[in-house]
């Protein structure tokens, strides 16, 4: 099985997802609902201030990135290329799933890190999603199953199937869980 475009998944995802987020979150403008700034004197200023005051830093980062990748002069280099990479990732997965029933990977590359530990390094944080993102980009069904411990911390594996193969994925994880009931084990807090 060969998925040569796997390394494109994270950068592709962060272009597509931030582009969509920048547009999806545009409705939070204080006009109809949500936080509304009391400092504004005009409708447009009210929208601008409500958004500046209401959104947190990670949301603002994604809106800025998404707005940039959709901007005239940059959309072809980022957004349009990301859509092409996305189609490539999908077609590679479909070809692979012709040969195998499911694709198994770890759910995340490392055991859980401490809360806030990587907050100052968003790129490192984004790479935590390397195994789960391809299924999301390709629109394929996937699930995560607890499968034991690493460095005393619980870890899981990730199964990706062909379109509409949810039943097969659920059946496989049920068989695994029946044999290895890790889900009943709690991590020490």
């Amino acid at each position: 099985m060969d998925l040569p475009s796997s390394d494109l998944a994270v950068p592709t995802y962060y272009v597509v997802a931030t582009a969509e987020a920048s547009s999806n979150l545009a409705r939070y403008d204080g006009v109809r609902y949500g936080h509304r700034s009391t400092q504004a004197t005009t409708p447009v200023e009210m929208m601008t201030l409500s958004r500046s005051e209401g959104f947190g830093p990670e949301v603002k980062r994604r809106i800025l990135l998404g707005t940039f990748v959709l901007s005239a002069g940059y959309a072809d280099a980022y957004y349009v290329r990301a859509l092409r990479a996305r189609s490539k990732i999908l077609s590679e997965h479909l070809a692979a799933l012709e040969k195998v029933d499911m694709i198994l990977t770890p759910t995340v590359p490392t055991p859980a890190f401490k809360a806030g530990e990587k907050i100052s390094d968003p790129l490192q944080l984004y790479l935590e999603d390397i195994f789960t993102i391809p299924a999301n980009l390709a629109g394929l069904p996937a699930l995560s199953v607890p499968c034991g411990k690493s460095q005393h911390l619980p870890v899981g594996f990730h199964l990706v199937g062909a379109p509409l193969s949810e039943k097969k994925l659920l059946a496989a994880s049920r068989v695994f869980e029946a044999a290895h009931p890790y889900r009943h084990q709690q991590a020490p807090l």
Binding site: R27, Y33, P43, Y79
Partner: protein, 499 residues
């Protein structure tokens, strides 16, 4: 200013609210004149978590339009987001179709004003670039204490019809809009009531020296909401551009507004301030496949195009241009006319005259005077309220042609028919209007009349070869029969007695 050495080049973008019961991505109904924010739901307001569902009726109306203008209906159409922040735009993006519109190409036949009202003007085909579906936005109003927004209009299905730059004058642009409105309304695609904002237009105008093949720099004037506004704005803008160029200045590519009150245009924003709409494919609405079966089903709903109908009336039915231009303007009227012709195919011109003159005049008088009908008056001339049925008018024309009643009597029968909806035969019998075609009785009257010395001079003149002198005898005969005599028979018998 030497306007004749300049050529004006115009392209229009026409926004039409489609006739559907509900909005384009939500199941909430829409209409005009409701209280603010009554016609909204969570989708229209863009509440978090809501998703659009495409209204099949809106897509089908758009396809029907495409078939009416002989456009290509691609097998797929898709939606894009046009992102811009404005309080009348609930999601701060507008769902529209940028790359895969619902129709491609097509054409609209227009008629330019003729040398007079009775003479057909030149015809011309205006090519369409495409038409795409999108959602209308809300309305913002500013009051002293703040700004208010009404989302009733938000999400109303809009079809944006984009022409090629084929129009060459303000009159052509007006003729195009008239032809487009006729096609849209006759197909039931849209009502195009401009007073309700159901049709709005952006005009792209440029000028160039006659003979130039390159297009000049264009300006776009937004949001014209009447045909006269479009005409006035184009005249103003073309004259402004010609003046600028003749005085050695350049035209700036800009977006302009139009003030209909003082009939002047103004700059809204220039190219530097142009919006970056950050279009991208909408991830919420899947690409829509248009089945050929749907297209074939809608093809059956395409009505005869107005100018096709006009040519058929002139060529096949021998109608004069003036009557045809009245009939084709209203599909219901033309259908009514054709039903009457079907009932009495011998005299289409006679029927057309009654319809285009008497019927329309009386309908319009009846609708402006509420007492004429027992129903409350309606705003527009309505054939649906007309008591005369097509077959009854056909009957009236038939008995007139057969000489049962005179043309004068026919007017009286028509008036009664309009009032009561009775058949011509019933009215003729009830009023005793039947023309007297009893030769014996008529001959007796004729003999009495020509014996009268008062007409001796006319008789002598007729016998001396003055054909027209015979008419002086017909009046007294008609009078003696109380107008019931058959004029053809009078003529025939008179000649016999005088000859």
């Amino acid at each position: 200013m030497s306007e004749s050495s300049w050529e004006i080049v115009i392209g229009l973008e026409v926004h039409v609210q489609l006739r559907t019961r509900t909005k384009v991505f939500a199941s909430v109904p829409w209409g005009f004149g409701e209280e603010p924010n009554e016609q909204v739901d969570p989708v229209v307001l863009g509440l978090p978590g809501t998703l659009p569902v495409v209204n099949r009726a809106a897509v089908e109306q758009a396809i029907l339009f495409g078939l009416v203008v002989e456009a290509t209906i691609p097998e797929r159409c898709a939606w894009d987001r046009k992102n811009y922040f404005y309080p009348d735009n609930p999601k701060n993006y507008q769902l529209t179709q940028k790359d895969f519109p619902v129709t491609l190409g097509g054409q609209v036949e227009i008629e330019l004003p003729g040398p007079s009202r009775n003479v057909m003007g030149e015809h011309k085909m205006i090519r369409l670039h495409h038409a795409h579906l999108e959602e209308d936005v809300g309305k913002l109003s500013h009051s002293g204490s703040g700004s208010l927004v009404d989302y009733n209009r938000a999400g109303v299905p809009l079809l944006e019809i984009v022409t090629e730059p084929d129009l060459r004058s303000a009159a052509e642009a007006a003729a195009f809009l008239n032809a487009l409105v006729a096609m849209l309304t006759q197909a039931g695609v849209a009502d195009c009531d401009m007073e309700k904002g159901q049709l709005r237009c952006d005009a792209n105008v440029s000028v160039r020296r006659r003979g130039d093949t390159q297009l000049g720099t264009r300006t776009e004037t937004k949001n014209l909401n009447s045909i006269s506004g479009v005409r006035d704005c184009i005249q103003y803008e073309a004259a402004r551009q010609i003046r600028e160029l003749e005085e050695g200045r350049k035209i700036t590519q800009e977006t302009r507004g139009w003030n209909a009150v003082n009939a002047r245009g103004y700059v809204l924003r220039d190219k530097e301030d142009a919006h970056d709409y950050r279009y991208f494919p909408d991830p919420d609405i899947p690409t829509l496949k248009i089945s050929r079966a749907t297209v074939e089903r809608l093809q059956k709903l395409v009505p005869e195009r107005p100018f096709h109908r006009q040519r058929r009336y002139m060529e096949k039915l021998g109608l004069p241009y003036t009557a045809t231009s009245v009939l084709i303007a209203d599909k219901a009227l033309a259908d009514w006319f054709e039903a009457a012709v079907a009932a009495y195919p011998q005299n289409p011109s006679g029927i057309a005259n009654w319809v285009a003159n008497d019927l329309l005049r009386d309908l319009s008088a009846a609708t402006s005077a509420p007492d004429a009908f027992s129903e409350p008056s309606v705003a527009k001339v309505s054939l649906a309220d007309c008591r005369i049925k097509p077959v009854q008018l056909a009957g009236l024309v038939k008995i007139t042609d057969e000489g049962v009643i005179s043309k004068q009597q026919a007017k009286e029968v028509f008036a009664e028919m309009f009032r009561t909806g009775q058949d011509a035969g019933e009215i003729v019998n009830a009023k005793g209007l039947r023309q007297n075609s009893d030769a014996g009785e008529l001959e007796k009257i004729i003999q009495e009349v020509i014996a009268d010395p008062a007409v001796a001079k006319s008789i002598a003149e007729y016998r001396a070869g003055n054909e027209k002198a015979i008419n002086a005898l017909k009046g007294p005969i008609m009078k003696r029969t109380q107008g019931k005599a058959n004029p053809a028979m009078i003529d025939q018998l008179l000649r016999k007695h005088l000859g």
